[in-house]
Structures are given as C-alpha cells and as structure tokens.
C-alpha cells in the first residue's frame, strides 16, 4: 500500500473546502468517506454519476409486470373462477402484489448492482484504524495520496488543521 494521509472533519462543508484547496494545489485526492451525501463532493472527486437508479427502476418494473402477467394468466386462462360476478381480470386488487413485489425487486436489484459494480470488500486496511467507524455516524474523512519517499508531511497537516481537521493520520508506506 502506498502512503496515504487521512484527515477527519466534523462536517461536510469544511471537508469540501479543504479538498477544493488541496486539489488546486495539485494534490491527488483518492477518496472521501461521509455519513451523508455532501453536495459537490462527487464532482470534485470526479466520480461519474451512478446508473444504479435506472437499473433499479427497470428491475422493479420488469418484476412487477411479470407478476401481473402471472396473476392474469392464473385468473383468466389457467383457472377462471366466477367470484361474485367480478371480472376475471380484476385489475384493482391485482395491483397490490406487483406493487409490493416491484418495490422489493427494485431494492434487491439495487443491492446486487451495488455489489457487482463496486466489488464486495469484506475487509479493507482502513477499517482497522481506530475510530474509522465514525464515518458512518458523525465524521467526514478525506483520503489523500502522499508523495513517495518524503518524511512526515507537517506542512499538509498544519494546512488541514487550519481548515478544521480534527486529526490526521498517516497510513501505509
């Protein structure tokens, strides 16, 4: 693992401000970990907008349509029953199972797409860092690439502290 610097912030705005300035200085930002979406961060990191919502929508609609088709086939073709004079293709109650199942299918397709597109990582060296679990709660962490071969980068640390970083770690090397 190459050398990296982590800086921990208390809010998204100071992380975004520091990241912008560092990028202008020519530093490479590897990633950022935040408990909530930070507006403008994805653009700064150069992450392309995800197609996951389109895939989820198509998956949900497809499963809902398939389930409705099953209901229709069962009630109209396979086993028609006259239930109190109601039409065989009773679309009003037939809407409910496709709706609920469609929502579930969209969620499932989203989860599978997430795993397929990002790769399942059960462990990452970063997870072992003390206090890193706070990125899912109340801390915003920026991950910077460190130049090879240098010593302790006091200048960058001082800059980050000045911009509101609560603490910095250096890892790898």
């Amino acid at each position: 693992m190459s050398r990296m610097l982590l800086a921990e912030f208390a809010d998204g705005r100071s992380l975004l401000g520091a990241a912008r300035e560092l990028k202008q200085k020519g530093r490479r930002i590897i990633d950022a970990f935040t408990p909530v979406p930070v507006d403008g961060l994805a653009e700064l990191l150069g992450v392309a907008s995800s197609r996951i919502r389109v895939i989820m929508f198509i998956g949900g609609i497809a499963v809902a349509a398939l389930l409705y088709a099953t209901e229709w086939y069962t009630a109209v073709i396979d086993y028609p029953v006259n239930s109190g004079g109601r039409p065989l293709n009773s679309w009003i109650p037939f809407m409910l199972p496709p709706f609920a199942t469609g929502i579930f299918a969209a969620a499932l397709v989203g989860l599978i797409t997430l795993f397929v597109t990002t790769g399942v990582r059960l462990h990452d060296p970063l997870f072992a860092l003390d206090g890193f679990e706070h990125v899912t709660q109340d801390r915003f962490v920026l991950l910077l690439a460190q130049p090879e071969g240098g010593g302790v980068d006091e200048e960058t640390r001082a800059f980050l502290t000045d911009r509101g970083a609560l603490r910095c770690w250096e890892v790898g090397g």
């Binding site: 507006d39 929508f57 109190g84 009003i92 809407m95 409910l96």
Partner: protein
C-alpha cells in the same frame, strides 16, 4: 406599484365570470350552485394548505419552510376570503342537498343530531372561524406560544377536516360515505398549497427547490395511495350504497374527467418528479405545479358535479376561473416581488 394593473385586470375577469355564472343560475340554479361548490372546494386548497404547512413548519423547522414563507403567509391570509366564498354555498343548500327535503332515508336520529342544516352551518362556520384565527395569529406570535398554537391548530384541522368535506361533498350523494375521505381532502390541501407555491414562488436556491419538489412528490404519492385504497375497499366490498357513487360516473364526460385527473394529478407529476434534474429545476417545477393544480381542479369537479349534469360542468369551469382570477389578483398584491435582499425580513 406596477403589479396593480394585472391585478385589476384579474379582478375584472373575476367579475365577468361571476356575471356569466349568475346568468347560468337563471337557467339552472342547481347546476350553478354545484359549479360554485366545486370551485369553492378546489380553491380551499392553496390557502388552507398553506396554513397547515406553516403550522407543520413551526413544529419541525427546516429550510423549506423559511424559503416558502413569503408565499405561504400571504396565501394563508386568504383563508377569510375563502370563508366569504362559502356563504353562497350555505345560501344554496336547499338546491344542492337532497337530504334537506327528507327525500332520502336518513336515519332519524342522525338527521336530528348531526345531518341537519343548522349543524351543517355550525360545523362549516366553526371550521372557518378557527382557520381564520390561526391564519391571522400564526404570523404574529413567536417562540413557544407559536409552537403551542401550531400544535393545537393541527389537531383542530385534523378534526374539522374529517367533518366538513363530508358535509360539503359526500352528503351531496347520501348515503355514500368513505372513511378515508377526510385524509384525502387534507392531502389535496397540502398538495394544492405546494403546487401554488411552485407556481408563484420566487427563484430560490437549488437545495430549496429540491425540497419543494420532494414534498410535492410525497403529497402526489399520498393522494394516489389514499384514493386507490378507498377505491380498492369499495370495489371489493361491492355494496350497492357505495358502488352507486362510481356507477354514476362511468359514462362521458365523467370518465374523461377521471382520466384527466389521474394523468395531471398523479401519473404525470410522479413520473416527472422522479428525476432529480426536474426536482432542482425552477422552471420545470413551475410547469408541474400548474399541471397539478389543473389535475386537482378536475378531481374536485369529478367529486362534486356529476349528479348535477353537464351544465354544472360549465358552471364549475366558470367558477374555478373566476375564483382563480380573484386568488391570483389578491396574491399579486400580497406576495412580494422577490428581490434577494428582501428575503431576510421573512425569516422568523
């Protein structure tokens, strides 16, 4: 002020529509009264809905409420005006409500204690006095007393909105009842207020526009859910005293109204608002707001007018346009032109 001229033209429009409506009244009193009632029910939405959103915001806080306050507060101040528009409905009650003449089989104790003209008028008047007091008091008090008033006001709204729409709308076709009707009308109020704000609100930041779009989407989903569930339960129960309400609406032009209300009030806004790009686009939201208002107007006509025939459809159109001229004119005069430096003064 340069906006007096357009407002004046709108008031002339309202007068013209009222005159045409009065002429229609000489031809068919019932149809004219039903048209007026449909328009009254529709235009209750933006002012009362704005009042409810302001009360909700007092309890929850949030940027959206601060940003929309310049639209919500003047619109909520129109509640007394809507109360005045109720008076012709009360005068026309004998022409509208057949239960008044004893022609229908209302259970005697129900008629004696609840469904009689005096109780009808008392419920409507109490509702409008309460909402007027809330609309006038809420912008003028601050701190924990405002929070208390907002909380009590929401409880008052929830109780009264379960009663008065049943009087105004469902009792037209006694014995039809639908238990979710109060909730359905409350959601149309909230939806109408947001759509009205989307049309009239000034240019705001992208984040606030996104909040408005998100809230509007939630309300459109809510009305779709509530009304679909009501239809499902009634369809499945298949009881004559409920189903007749729908069978009365299964022919032209009411089927056309149903499709139009579904497309403009539900399907189209949901599909458009699913896209983040649309939710953050001020112009797109303005168009969607106008579409939703059209859908709600058609929906309210569909609820009120069918028993009164096609002439009532014309009367409803006239009355909605006329009252709309009145509302837009009043809003032009009261909703401030949005210069950015003015905004600070509306933050509570």
């Amino acid at each position: 002020m340069s906006r007096r001229w357009p407002a004046g033209i709108l008031f002339i429009g309202a007068t013209t529509a009222a005159g045409l409506g009065a002429f229609l009244g000489t031809l068919d009193v019932k149809a004219a009264a039903a048209g007026w009632l449909a328009a009254f029910v529709f235009w209750c939405g933006p002012p009362i809905g704005s009042l409810v959103w302001m009360m909700i915001h007092r309890l929850t806080g949030g940027r959206w409420g601060v940003a929309l306050y310049p639209v919500f507060a003047p619109t909520a101040a129109l509640v007394p005006l809507i109360g005045i528009l109720l008076i012709p409905v009360l005068i026309a009650m004998p022409a509208l409500y057949s239960w008044m003449h004893g022609g229908t089989d209302v259970i005697p104790s129900v008629k004696h204690l609840y469904l009689n003209p005096a109780a009808f008028i008392i419920r409507s008047v109490v509702a409008f006095i309460g909402w007027t007091v809330l609309a006038l008091a809420l912008p003028r008090i601050h701190g924990s007393r405002a929070t208390l008033l907002a909380g009590l006001g929401l409880v008052f709204y929830c109780v009264l909105i379960s009663l008065v729409p049943v009087d105004w709308i469902l009792s037209l076709e006694h014995p039809f009842v639908s238990e979710s009707f109060g909730a359905s009308v409350a959601v149309t109020h909230l939806m109408a207020a947001l759509a009205w704000a989307a049309v009239l609100a000034p240019r705001e930041s992208e984040a606030v526009t996104s909040d408005l779009g998100g809230l509007l989407l939630a309300m459109v989903l809510a009305i779709t859910y509530i009304d679909f569930m009501a239809l499902l339960v009634i369809w499945y129960g298949d009881l004559p005293e409920k189903v007749f309400w729908f069978t009365q609406r299964t022919h032209f032009p009411w089927t056309l109204l149903a499709y139009l209300a579904f497309i403009c009030g539900s399907a189209l806004p949901i599909l458009l608002l699913l896209f983040t790009r649309v939710r953050v686009n001020r112009f797109a939201l303005r168009v969607i707001g106008a579409i939703v208002l059209l859908g709600l107007a058609v929906y309210d006509i569909y609820l009120v007018v069918p028993p009164f025939g096609s002439l009532a459809l014309l009367a409803a159109g006239l009355a909605i346009v006329g009252m709309g001229c009145l509302m837009f004119g009043a809003s032009l005069l009261t909703i401030p032109a949005m210069a950015p430096q003015q905004r600070g003064s509306y933050v509570r």
